[in-house]
Amino acid sequence: MLLIRCPYCDESRPEIEFRHAGEAHIVRSDKMADLTPDEFERYFFLRDNRKGDVYERWRHIHGCGRFLNAVRNTVTDRFLMTYKAGEPRPALPDPQAQAAATEGNGQ
């Protein structure tokens, strides 16, 4: 089982308490009604679905209930970091810090 660090509970908690909630940092337009169908499609449906490190929303639904953001590697399924919703997209931690931060996480 994966352990995911919840920035609100401030501890690593079992994956089963969380729910995946899609790509992070997708900004909703404040002029929603003015979007063209193509722009709306891009905002609403189209995702990068990259291979490697991705920024994602997760929700600690069976815990504190909060949405949070995470950086996860889609190849190794390793969580590189988590941070509170609303915080700016952080730079990726360097590989050595990654290893230290995720040490002890079950895989």
């Binding site: 089963i16 504190c64 209930g65």
Partner: protein, 190 residues
């Protein structure tokens, strides 16, 4: 016209007993329960209204002086308040909170939920059969509490003593929870 027969609300786990030598399972007595949501600036006034200090540290429960009322941290702006004192069933916590005059949401969930007391030297082992959290005393000390899962359902778990846990679950799931814990208790060895 008066009703010819008295009708009493039955506890969803009425009469159930479970466990064995190392762990006991008992339905908790009736209680008043409030789902409380509030922003940080309302916490001290609401604490005054409840007569206890609402916990602001994650995974923490606070009990009032006479042990009848408790507040469990569920999230950064969410608590479960449980009152099972003499007033159990009648303490008007919603009114007590409303009288503070500060912005909050208080919903009476007394009958949405019920609870099972898990006691004895194998209590943690029994719960570990279905709860994925680390329930060692180091990671989950006395008065730690958390919304989490047990088997296929969501629960609120509160360690009230080294060997005593309260498992809050929705009443329609309580039959499942009790059966699950009974099964787990058979396998648990302290």
């Amino acid at each position: 016209m008066d009703s010819p027969v008295g009708v009493e609300r039955l506890h969803p786990l009425h009469g159930r007993r479970g466990g064995g030598a190392a762990v006991g399972l008992t339905p908790a007595q009736a209680a008043v329960r409030i789902s409380l949501r509030a922003k940080p600036d309302a916490v001290s006034a609401l604490s005054g209204g409840l007569g206890l200090d609402l916990p602001t540290r994650p995974k923490t429960a606070v009990v009032n002086a006479d042990g009848t009322r408790s507040a469990l941290w569920l999230g950064p702006d969410e608590w479960l308040v449980i009152d099972d004192g003499e007033h159990g069933g009648s303490a008007d916590l919603v009114k007590a909170l409303a009288d503070t005059g500060v912005l909050h949401s208080a919903v009476d969930v007394s009958h949405r939920q019920t609870a099972i007391m898990v006691t004895g030297e194998a209590a943690a082992e029994t719960l570990a059969a279905g709860c994925p959290q680390d329930l060692s005393l180091k990671a989950f000390p006395v008065n730690a509490c958390s919304r989490t899962v047990l088997g296929k359902i969501e629960i609120v778990l509160w360690r009230m003593a080294d060997d005593m846990f309260r498992v809050e679950c929705w009443r329609s799931y309580s039959d499942y929870a009790f059966a699950f814990l009974s099964e787990a208790a058979r396998d648990a060895k302290a």
